[in-house]
Symmetry: C2
Subunit: 368 residues, 2 copies
């Protein structure tokens, strides 16, 4: 069965809905934690679920290299392999080609680049990306795209955007997994007309959902929001919309206001391992000596496992000593923070007070 | 309240009993996982408890350096600091002086050595070790001793053993925590007469329990077992006996046969982080390529969380990718393995079949 999106309520462009999947039904907007290598770093699946997570994301490129899609397929698919019974989305590898490969050779056929692990030559095509994802058997697969750098000159962006559409068609041709859904990716860089072109052409291909790609690649926030605006108005109401790689709280709010339903980002777990925690009053670094004797939770009113049981002084001690439990505890808090934010955003949409919520949140968040 | 040991049944020298503590009552023989820096590495306290653990051990030397005993004291003691509501034993720091300090200057007053973290000069005395432990507020504190290297010449061993007795007396004088128990440590190196001397003199000081120290310092197994034999016959029946730093399954069995009630070791968690797992058929290294497509648990009949939910192929993938969940899953399995072993040993004592159990276990364990 394919996923199905049910729109329950709008607040202007913002949407409150339900995503029906083969692994449960979950409310949107949602934040999806990232489990790059079939594990949300430092956490058990139970800990991930206790944060209120629904869909998690895993990376096709990384799983292709290690352990290889055939092993995961033989294990019975990614869910069984990693013991996660909630829905899983796999990306296409396009972003990793962009972010990890130092040199790459992009042709019509696909992308030649070198493995970030051992430098061996790799060749990823739209067909191969889909075949790998079919074998991983995630709930949602992503179309293979080129993530355009920012800034990019118009000529390059146009050629790349057109090629991504051709790649999308080839991916659909290659697709073969009736229990898996496939999302298209809107590219187009920072150019309004290319975003419109990409959105319209991608929608013509009738994907199960649409994502806006090419964000979080170095552009300023206003440009990112414009990229969303330029694309989202051409996306159908009855399909979910996913903003890739975005996890800053304020960006999530701005995305939701514009009509985004799904977000993913490594941010909450990555900053956790370096001792950083989200709070309603901005990010803090727990290594700061002022927390040495602070025997209070990261946030008094937070309902996460970490805040229910541990103090800043203890977590600081763990992080300073390089104890991995410190990263676990902060990851739990940070993921819960972003998921709680999406819960609050859903409430705000239901109560038609999204802009008030935004103002209040940002006032708190930016006022240290 | 002090801990109390209740002997319920003997099978020759082996003992089945109950240890009553301020944080619950637990059966012995028991294996105590080690939480060096107020965390059993890579695990939450709940995960530690799900392994069936009772007492856990934490290291005075390490906590003295980071975060410092005053911070833990202000947090309300070690239990509150680390969110572990079961009993905690702290060692004295003597073993870390032996194992971590490259140079040390041992005088009657105490030991001068350099911090393993920043090389700064440290001076640990019997009084200071006890004062730190009083502040940590563990359930069981250990007397400060010198851990004699192996081999050691008789003259040195004798002088050191006598000094450790004098240090034990000074520790008792300094001791000031009515909710904490204090264990004496029998030293004496590999010398039968010194073990007898040390045991008898230590017992005269009327500790709440007794440990046999100076083992696991490079001696062969027969020597270790002789060290136990030479000491344990002089220890009182009504107090618990603790063999320090021993966690090899066969050594635990041999210790229990000789009348030991408590064991601790970093082994299960340390080898876990390097990809090693205990099984009934000996240790395995999960990184071995033969496990690449083994979609079965580490041990089919193991009741641990890891074996209930994860395959060797998945854990191998995690360890090879350096994902800390791999260490967590193997630590859970290994700790559960040793605790299950002590459960089996208790059953064997109750059923008067300890030697049969030993034979069967060793036959399996050494036959790959």
């Amino acid at each position: 069965m394919k996923i199905k999106y049910e729109l329950l309520k709008n607040d202007n462009n913002a949407r409150y809905g339900i995503l029906h999947t083969n692994h449960g039904n979950f409310e949107t907007p949602m934040f999806m934690p990232v489990g790059t290598l079939a594990t949300v770093k430092t956490m058990t699946p139970e800990q991930v679920k206790e944060c209120g997570s629904a869909v998690i994301l895993s990376n096709t490129y990384h799983l292709w290299l290690r352990p290889g899609e055939d092993i995961i397929n033989k294990a019975g698919g990614l869910h069984k392999f990693m013991n996660y019974d909630g829905p899983i989305l796999t990306d296409s590898g396009g972003f990793q080609v962009f972010s990890l490969a130092r040199t790459k050779d992009i042709t019509e056929e696909g992308v030649k680049f070198k493995s970030h692990i051992d430098g061996s030559s790799l060749f990823l095509t739209p067909e191969l990306s889909i075949q790998i994802q079919n074998k991983l058997d995630s709930d949602i697969a992503m179309s293979f795209d080129e993530c355009i750098p920012y800034p990019a000159d118009y000529g390059y962006a146009k050629a790349s955007t057109e090629r991504t559409i051709r790649w999308a068609k080839r991916g659909i041709e290659a697709f073969n997994n009736e229990n898996q859904s496939l999302f298209g990716i809107v590219q187009g860089g920072e150019y309004t007309d290319l975003r419109e072109y990409s959105a319209k052409e991608t929608v013509k291909l009738n994907f199960d959902g649409y994502s806006i790609g090419g964000t979080s690649v170095g552009e300023d926030k206003e440009t990112m929001y414009k990229m969303i605006d330029d694309a989202i108005k051409f996306l159908p109401e009855n399909k979910p919309r996913y903003l890739m790689g975005v996890g800053e709280p304020i960006d999530i709010i701005e995305g939701v206001i514009r009509g985004i339903d799904m977000f993913d980002c490594v941010l909450p777990t990555r900053i956790a391992r370096h001792g950083n925690a989200f709070t309603r009053h901005g990010k803090i670094n727990i290594k700061n000596s002022k927390y040495k004797e602070e025997f209070t939770p990261i946030e008094e009113k937070c309902d996460c496992y970490t805040c229910q049981h541990y103090t800043k002084a203890y977590i600081r001690h763990l992080i300073i000593c390089g104890e991995s439990l410190g990263g676990t505890l902060l990851s739990i808090h940070n993921i819960r923070f972003l998921i709680k934010l999406t819960e609050d955003l859903r409430e705000a949409i239901k109560n038609d007070c999204l802009l008030e919520f935004k103002e209040q949140f940002i006032n708190n968040y930016l006022k240290k």
